[in-house]
Point group: C2
Chain length 202, copies 2
């Protein structure tokens, strides 16, 4: 079985439990299930894999949020209670309570923060790092606190006593910054597998 998660920047592929990231769509053998938030890449992918099943049509998910991205739905679907963070091009923060999605936040991803600072002034440069000071005392620390620290601030605002589950390209890094958090590489795929199981039960 092949699961494909077509994102804005990368395409994430799960083949029998192993994951790999690609820039462009490819042709896959066997049963192929997919989700997509990028219409251009999806078109190319569908031409190469005409029998692939779009799980967006079948997923059951309890939320009042209008227009929730299918990748966020899948990541959240695998968690009953907690804060679900997908740290990619954007950082999404979604709150789950008893299998219900209460709402969510979208922040720029760490790379987008870096780009944003660079657009304001060429002197605003930093390397994302863990946070080891409360009062930044140079430009690099100030920018790290204003980006990584701001993401941390928002996650902690919503986590309170909830556990935080983090996925995505910057997920492993972020999980080192956020207390009571766990990095789960396959969070989106776990939701896709759960959706396939529900489909098969019908």
């Amino acid at each position: 079985m092949v699961l494909v998660d077509i994102g804005n920047t990368n395409i994430h592929i799960w083949i029998d439990g192993k994951t790999v990231n690609k820039k462009s769509p490819e042709k896959y053998d066997g049963r192929v299930y997919y989700i997509s938030v990028n219409k251009e890449k999806e078109k190319i992918f569908k031409k190469l894999n005409p029998d692939a099943v779009n799980l967006e049509k079948y997923v059951l998910f309890d939320t009042a949020y209008k227009g929730l991205g299918i990748d966020r739905i899948m990541a959240c679907k695998s968690i009953s209670d907690g804060v679900v963070v997908d740290a990619g091009s954007a950082v999404t923060i979604d709150i789950m309570q008893e299998n219900r999605h209460l709402g969510g936040i979208i922040m720029p991803g760490i790379y987008a923060f870096k780009q944003a600072f660079g657009t304001i002034s060429e002197v605003l440069q930093f390397n994302p790092d863990i946070i080891n000071t409360f009062y930044p005392n140079n430009t690099s620390e100030a920018l790290n606190m204003g980006s990584v620290g701001a993401i941390k601030c928002m996650i902690e605002k919503y986590s309170q006593n909830r556990k935080v589950y983090i996925t995505g390209g910057d997920g492993e890094f972020l999980s080192r910054v956020i207390e009571n958090s766990e990095y789960i590489e396959d969070l989106v795929f776990l939701g896709m597998l759960k959706t396939i199981k529900e489909l098969e039960k019908k």
Copy 2:
């Protein structure tokens, strides 16, 4: 007396208590004092106003922060105790305690957040608004919380019981979002005036 604050985007001018914003440097009559964070614009300004005094050389300010922008120094100099926010191209958050600067944070400005979201995906659009829900339930609310809400989160993290003084182009808007805050249009100029007074005492 004319005070000039040359920023990255705008040039702010104070003429005998009245303020005005310009895009390009101009020639001024009388005593001219200035500060600048933009070397290109400063060069043009100095050609037009060769006798203008750069207050950066004379300002006294107690901080351990290396490379603190002169506009931030001037805004902070006018406040003894509190959080000083300058909401322009970037949002800077500086903490003052008994006339001492404890440290500061740099976040993208609201426009930079909008641009950053647009770079990630064209569907990530919103209009900055006050925050009236804890759990965002659509893209617009999610982006507003992830930008305006993130700025609010960081300011509140540092304000605790301190009063918040806000200046800059988005300052009036932000002051409506932040509790225990006051918008002061002339904050940077108040610091410049204080510096000139100290100079004259010598």
